[in-house]
């Protein structure tokens, strides 16, 4: 039993952290104080991705033949944690969600075109899963793709396509067969967002200040060479992609960073001239949060340490623990800290650039996105405990 990363891993982490800190200090890169968004949405942040690529920090766990470093997935985990803690942009959907899937299911042409672009940070992706009528029940998605000569015609609507307004390519799940079971009949496509007619992208602004999008596809033509994976097997490909990357889906460092800032506040702040650290209620809050934080850390370690079936359950537990801790922490911190947590960034009196104000808004999506926590509980109940399917 060993709860520590190896000396080699720690040494690599230290080097990576120093490099990432340096790159993140360039103007416009670091997520400023309270901003929630860590998307690669500006030239400066694209520059950061280029820096990551140049430093050899993209696709560290990809096999060497794909241009990666061939290191274990623990390095991916560490890298992701560093970026989250340092408030640097997130390493991106290409290397994070799509890469290995592409390597496994892509055609030789797709692999040759996309993989080098991903690992060199030359491409940004948007993911088209959710629809107005398909949220937690993703397999019920309706957007229709029908055969048209050598290609396909796509008609319908997507929702929550974050990054859609600046991404280069769209990873899109469509329905190609509505006659069989809903898990069958889903087919994936890769669509050039910048050069394909018939795509309209409308903004939806969220309570955390981020933009996501509604996407309307009107008779969009896609050649069959841009179909991704076998026809009708899209749901399987999506599920597999999750298996590859579940250890980086939910960084523990988000919560760690907030806790560290809160602890710093407790150590130094005063109320009515009295140090707040002398208040027993404040001390109790610190202790209680620290316990849950440590538990969250170890759940996330367990996803790194386990494999396969067990990892799926551990990942569901990690997602629940981390997201609910985030929201709980936001509630406790705003309650303990008090009136200043009303202030958004750039107002006199705002604490930590409005961080404690922001987290109460930003946390809301965490128990919903990436598989709602009710779905995660179903996974634990069925796969972990062997309970029957709900009827």
């Amino acid at each position: 039993m060993d709860f520590e990363f190896s000396p080699e891993e720690r040494a690599w982490e230290e080097e990576a952290r120093a490099y990432i800190k340096k790159c993140a200090e360039k103007p416009g890169v670091r997520v400023r104080g309270a901003e929630a968004t860590r998307y690669i949405d500006t030239p400066a942040r694209r520059g950061f991705m280029k820096d990551l690529a140049a430093g050899g920090y993209l696709g560290v766990s990809w096999p060497k033949e794909l241009g990666g470093k061939g290191l274990s997935h623990r390095y991916d985990y560490l890298l992701n944690e560093i970026c989250a803690y340092e408030n640097a942009p997130s390493p991106g959907k290409g290397v994070g969600i799509l890469g290995r899937s592409l390597a496994k299911h892509g055609t030789p042409e797709q692999k040759a075109y996309f993989l080098p672009k991903i690992i060199n940070a030359e491409i940004e992706w948007a993911i088209g899963y959710s629809e107005p009528e398909a949220g937690s029940d993703l397999a019920s998605l309706k957007i229709k793709a029908t055969r048209d000569g050598d290609g396909w015609r796509i008609n319908g609507q997507k929702r929550f396509t974050t990054s859609g307004h600046f991404a280069d390519w769209y990873y899109l799940a469509t329905r190609t067969d509505a006659t069989g079971p809903k898990h069958k009949g889903i087919t994936l496509f890769l669509i050039d967002l910048k050069n394909t007619p018939g795509i309209q992208i409308n903004p939806m602004f969220c309570i955390n200040g981020e933009r996501t999008n509604e996407v309307f596809l009107d008779n969009v033509y896609v050649p069959d060479s841009q179909r991704f994976g076998p026809e009708g097997e899209g749901f399987k490909v999506i599920s597999e992609a999750l298996d590859f990357e579940r250890h980086i889906l939910f960084p523990h460092s988000y919560q760690q960073r907030i806790f560290d800032k809160f602890l710093e506040w407790v150590r130094t702040a005063t109320r009515d001239g009295e140090p707040v650290r002398n208040d027993p209620a404040v001390r109790s809050a610190v202790a209680k949060l620290s316990v849950l934080l440590e538990e969250g850390r170890l759940h996330s370690y367990s996803v790194v340490a386990l494999e396969g079936y067990e990892a799926a359950v551990a990942a569901a537990m990690t997602k629940i623990t981390s997201s609910e801790l985030f929201q709980h922490m936001a509630n406790v911190i705003t309650t303990v800290v008090g009136p200043e947590t009303m202030l958004r960034i750039d107002n006199e009196g705002a604490i930590e650039e409005g961080l404690f104000e922001l987290i109460h808004r930003a946390g809301v999506i965490l128990t919903i996105g990436a598989g709602g926590n009710e779905i995660q509980r179903n996974i634990i109940a069925r796969r972990g405990l062997g309970l029957p399917n709900p009827t």
Binding site: L298, T321, L385
Partner: protein, 379 residues
């Protein structure tokens, strides 16, 4: 990074689970409720034969010299089986105190007998109206030429009727430096035992000390060091107890999950209702996290890491609560029939709670963790 037990630990776990399934079955657990001794002699003998009584004691005293992770493995099994035996009292706390601070004579007299399962020692710690901190110790001990004279009472002393010695915390002066720990013979003149009826119906006693004479040579450690050594051994107690919470909760979850698969209402197994399934999923999540916290604390002790004290307290705090959640959930899943004495889940529910307030409590540990974080500079 490796969160697995090694082969020896898995063997230890499996063989202990097998022995306890036989020697500490639910039938045995039930038979020991209200029993004045509180444990079956045959079970104690089996634990000694497996090396559990001397698990972490040095080999020179007949122990197995195993580490804190091994201790956690053992206590998870003891919790699963609700094992009615004074392993925590005798082998972890009392032996821990003697091994840490006892004289050579005390070590020679007690440790080999503890390891061999031939002696039972139990702490006499808590008092009515007192806290879990040093200020809670008020039993008065006046030092004279022939020894200490003890006057006062101790409550909640487990397995006292079977004990060869009561490891008694006494007050000799002001503050934490005014606390000593004495080995008191329960058969000594002036010691009276009165059985208490408790939440868990285990063998606990009110012990009255009426001018009891204890020789100076029966003090563990130097004068005024009692609270310091008690606090040090308390960390091992937290790891063991934390593992016990995990085992107790895990077994309760198994019972409730099995029931949820079998019990049919509205023409389907109740486990197919998300209202039921999600409660069980939350129990499973809390138990998994608590097990990792327990193992990490144990690993930190074995690796001599500076954050061991905070991690031990952290593990106890979380495991106690997740155990409480799981055992309460078990009661809810079993519904009306679980409220009867006939069903087994109530045994787990009552014991989880009792262990949450028997050796240390949430407030004391939160104070400790907060101090480590706020003033100690730890993260």
């Amino acid at each position: 990074m490796n969160l697995d037990l090694n082969d020896e630990q898995i063997m230890l776990r499996d063989s202990l689970r097998k022995m306890l399934a036989d020697q500490s079955s639910i039938k045995v657990v039930r038979a020991m409720e209200n029993d004045p001794i509180g444990y079956p002699t045959s079970l104690w003998k089996s634990l000694a034969e497996m090396g559990i009584t001397g698990l972490t004691l040095a080999e020179e005293f007949g122990g197995s010299a195993l580490g804190s992770v091994d201790l956690a493995v053992v206590f998870e099994e003891l919790g699963r089986a609700l094992c009615p035996a004074p392993i925590l009292e005798t082998s972890v706390i009392s032996a821990g105190l003697i091994a840490l601070a006892g004289s050579d004579a005390q070590k020679k007299e007690w440790l080999p007998r503890i390891a061999a399962g031939e002696a039972v020692l139990t702490p006499a710690f808590l008092e009515l109206g007192g806290s879990f901190k040093g200020t809670g110790i008020q039993l008065k001990a006046e030092a004279g030429a022939d020894g200490y004279r003890l006057n006062g009472k101790k409550y909640f002393v487990s397995f006292a009727a079977a004990a060869d010695r009561l490891v008694t915390l006494v007050r000799t002066g002001a503050g934490d430096a005014g606390i000593d720990i004495l080995l008191v013979d329960p058969k000594a003149k002036g010691v009276t035992l009165t059985k208490e009826d408790t939440h868990a119906l285990d063998a606990r006693y009110l012990v009255t000390f009426d001018n009891v004479l204890v020789p100076l040579s029966d003090r563990i450690g130097g004068a005024g060091t009692g609270w310091k050594i008690w606090s040090a051994v308390g960390l091992d107690m937290m790891v063991a107890q934390s593992a016990w919470f995990v085992g107790c909760a895990a077994r309760d979850l198994e019972l409730a999950t099995t029931y949820a698969k079998e019990r049919v209402q509205f023409d389907r197994p109740i486990g197919s209702f998300q209202a039921i399934a999600h409660q069980l999923a939350d129990s499973a999540t809390g138990i998994a996290g608590s097990r990792y916290l327990t193992w990490k604390a144990a690993w930190a002790k074995d690796s001599r890491r500076a954050d061991f004290p905070r991690l031990a307290a952290t593990a106890f705090l979380r495991s106690a609560e997740s155990g409480r959640f799981a055992t309460r959930t078990g009661q809810q899943i079993f519904g009306g029939i679980g409220f009867t004495n006939d069903l087994d889940v109530q045994l787990f529910f009552r014991r989880n709670k009792q262990h949450m307030v028997a050796w240390v409590d949430t407030k004391t540990l939160e104070d400790f963790v907060a101090a480590e974080l706020i003033e100690g500079g730890a993260k």
